[in-house]
């Protein structure tokens, strides 16, 4: 291979063109580099958006939600929780009474809405879903000042406090301190059985839940676990157990383990552990589809760049036809000739891939690195190397010596680096008016190293494949015809 490297590297540098690296090699390398950089950047943005949404979502969602198939109550949930907590990956659990209830205000005489009620132990729930972080107001369901006040001025029984989803509260038109009536149960009228009497419980609004996730903010009310148990007459029972894991990605595996591990009595329904992915399947499958489409487009970008390599090589082969003839007279085999051109193309592919990776990662870093930058106008420094390069091309002032070429190349690197540093800054979604949609302030960037390695291998492989036809063409030139080629 040594001989082939010797010839191929010389062809890449093409001494005759009198430049440091032949311009055509630079263009091909640039094509691959841009392709790879785009791929890395685009997938980092996509991963970032997915990750950002996941984080927002997981911030107030349990990783695994355990219920019974028939939505009945667990017989002895404390024991279930102990069993679940023996699994290493489980970090916290929260027993919950999950129900639906119709609500109306004390002064209203019609049902205003039907909401989800989550009866929670605020301390345990905090460890699973970070509940209190999202509450504007009090989370003290039993002794909040609003409850004290309400109890003082009313003669009705106040069961406790309720934290209402922010948008739900706005829709109902309630403020903190207002009393909300929850319909717990409908009992038959003792005399007229066709009439139903609502069994009511009064709750004082003590806070608003502002997670910015519409499903919670629009539809949920949180009350204390014991209040919920009392309300539904299920003392010391729950129908749902929320579980948090060391890593959200473990959810599918652990969900199955929870189902297996927890021994349920035959009197209960079958356990049904749902992962957060299952609960939010539409969102994440949409993201996944988007990603597949993008990866296909990305592969096409690299493919286009590899065509560049193929055409570069085909041109080189045509230009070097006579030399191939000469090499054959000197005793190079077809294999030798083939390898010379495969090496030449592969070096372009490799340099392009590596350069593109560096460029892509630098762009990713710049897009996620918050700092005070010089104005993007400073990107004008690029004029300096351009000017010097023109001087070299025109053979004025600067000689074409190796030293100068190297110096100008370094200058190019520094100028490009500085220009990128000035011009590429984190993209503010707020400025674009998108922060509400994506619930993020800044375009998120998440570099997936596994994917970077994968793209490097893929890109190199595609470039290598692109060399095969031109190289084969060169190898099969007939020596005599090649020699006479003008």
């Amino acid at each position: 291979m040594r001989f082939e490297w010797f010839v191929a590297s010389r062809y890449l540098r093409s001494r005759r063109k009198q430049s440091f690296i032949s311009i055509i090699s630079i263009i091909s390398i640039g094509g691959v580099a841009l392709g790879v950089a785009t791929v890395i950047l685009v997938s980092a943005v996509l991963d970032g958006v997915e990750q950002g949404l996941k984080e927002r979502f997981l911030a107030n969602e349990a990783h695994v939600v355990l219920r019974l198939h028939d939505s009945s109550f667990f017989r002895n949930y404390q024991e279930r929780i102990l069993q679940i907590e023996t699994i290493d990956e489980v970090t916290a659990t929260s027993p919950v009474v999950w129900a639906q209830s119709a609500v109306f205000q004390e002064r209203s005489d019609t049902i205003q809405d039907v909401i989800y009620i989550k009866g929670i132990d605020p301390v345990l729930e905090d460890k699973v879903t970070g509940f209190s972080k999202f509450v504007d107001g009090s989370t003290d369901f039993q002794n909040s000042e609003f409850i004290e006040t309400a109890r003082l001025i009313r003669d009705e029984t106040i069961t406790g406090g309720i934290v209402l989803g922010g948008r739900l509260a706005a829709r109902l038109g309630v403020i903190k301190g207002d009393v909300l009536r929850l319909i717990v149960n409908l009992a038959k009228h003792p005399v007229n059985e066709s009439m139903l009497i609502p069994d009511l419980a009064n709750f004082v609004v003590i806070g608003f839940y502002e997670s910015e996730l519409a499903v919670y903010d629009n539809n949920f009310g949180f009350i204390h676990l014991e209040a919920a148990q009392k309300m539904y007459n299920k003392p010391n029972q729950v129908n749902t157990i929320f579980v948090r894991l060391t890593d959200a990605e473990f959810a599918p595996r652990i969900a199955r383990r929870i189902e297996d591990k927890v021994q349920f009595s035959v009197l209960e329904g079958m356990p049904d552990a749902r992962t957060w992915m299952e609960l939010q399947a539409p969102l994440f499958s949409a993201l996944r589809l988007e990603k597949i489409a993008t990866v296909i487009i990305e592969a096409l970008i690299i493919l286009v760049a590899s065509f560049n390599i193929a055409s570069t090589l085909i041109m080189t082969v045509m230009e070097k036809t006579k030399d191939v003839g000469t090499l054959r007279t000197l005793g190079t085999s077809r294999g030798n000739v083939m390898r010379i051109f495969v090496i030449q193309g592969s070096v372009i592919g490799m340099l392009g891939t590596l350069l593109g990776t560096v460029l892509g990662l630098v762009l990713c870093w710049l897009l996620s690195y918050n700092s005070a930058r010089p104005s993007y106008w400073y990107a004008i420094v690029l004029i300096v190397p351009i000017f010097l390069q023109v001087l070299i091309a025109l053979r004025r002032i600067i000689p074409r010596s190796r030293g100068w070429m190297l110096a100008v190349s370094m200058l190019w690197l520094i100028a490009i680096g500085f220009a990128l540093y000035c011009a590429v800054t984190p993209i503010s979604l707020a400025d674009l008016g998108l922060s509400q949609v994506y619930q993020m302030n800044q375009l998120p960037i998440q570099v997936n190293w596994f994917f970077v390695v994968f793209i490097n291998i893929l890109s190199f492989l595609i470039c290598w494949l692109a060399t095969l036809y031109p190289a084969w063409q060169a190898a099969n030139l007939k020596p005599v015809e090649a020699l006479q080629h003008e």
């Binding site: 010797f6 030399d323 007279t329 000197l330 085999s333 007939k478 020699l483």
Partner: protein, 227 residues
């Protein structure tokens, strides 16, 4: 005349035709030829008679339609492509009318190329290449590129290149065809000297009568046959 009668190459009933669609254009029509060790053989003939084709086939660059070329009684066209390349590399040197030096490489590298293909002992190879360039009188031109050399110098580099692997035979196709008188003489001097000093076998295709008069043996090709 050749003193030695030891046969190096035997060309047996060589036919070569070119095909253009249906029509056949016969070029060589039964060439029989023996080339002896250490001789200086000239092949002459009118242009288009197939001199170069014959030289290419002897040099294994082209395959005959029928017939054999035997080196030391070995049929070279029975070899595989790779073996043939290796054989060409080791046993045959070429000098062409147009120097055919590789433009991206220096004189020294051009000379060394043939040896670099089959060996990786760079130090020894470059030393030999340097000695050869010194021998052809170009010791001052080692790191010059072909574009920086004169026509005569290029041809001398080409001769040095043909000798790097100490081949059994050097095949020269109009080696002075593209040179002025003075350069031609210098190049021919070299060939005679090489032949005299080291007994190098040369087969030269030419229509230069002067050259033809200075060789051991002249073969004339007429109508695709040895006359």
């Amino acid at each position: 005349m050749a003193n030695s009668v030891e046969t190096l190459i035997r060309v047996v009933d060589l036919h070569k035709s070119y095909y253009d669609g249906e029509s056949e254009l016969p070029v060589l029509q039964g060439v029989n030829l023996e080339i002896y060790l250490s001789e200086l053989l000239a092949i002459v003939g009118a242009s288009g008679v197939g001199k170069s084709t014959l030289l290419h086939i002897i040099g294994t660059l082209d395959r005959p339609t029928t017939g054999n070329v035997l080196y030391d009684e070995q049929d070279v066209f029975a070899l595989s492509d790779t073996e043939l390349a290796r054989f060409r590399n080791k046993e045959i040197g070429f000098v062409f009318q147009f120097h055919h030096l590789l433009p991206e490489f220096t004189a020294l590298e051009n000379v060394a190329m043939g040896a670099l293909i089959s060996s990786s002992n760079n130090k020894t190879i470059y030393k030999e290449a340097e000695a050869l360039l010194d021998y052809v009188g170009l010791s001052e031109r080692l790191s010059h590129y072909p574009s920086q050399l004169s026509g005569g110098e290029r041809q001398r580099v080409a001769i040095a290149r043909s000798l790097i692997n100490q081949p059994k035979v050097v095949l020269a196709d109009e080696p002075t065809g593209n040179l002025d008188r003075r350069s031609s003489e210098a190049v021919l001097e070299l060939l005679w000297d090489l032949n005299a000093k080291s007994g190098q076998t040369f087969v030269i295709v030419t229509h230069n009568q002067e050259l033809a008069q200075q060789v051991d043996r002249v073969i004339q090709l007429v109508d695709g046959k040895v006359f």
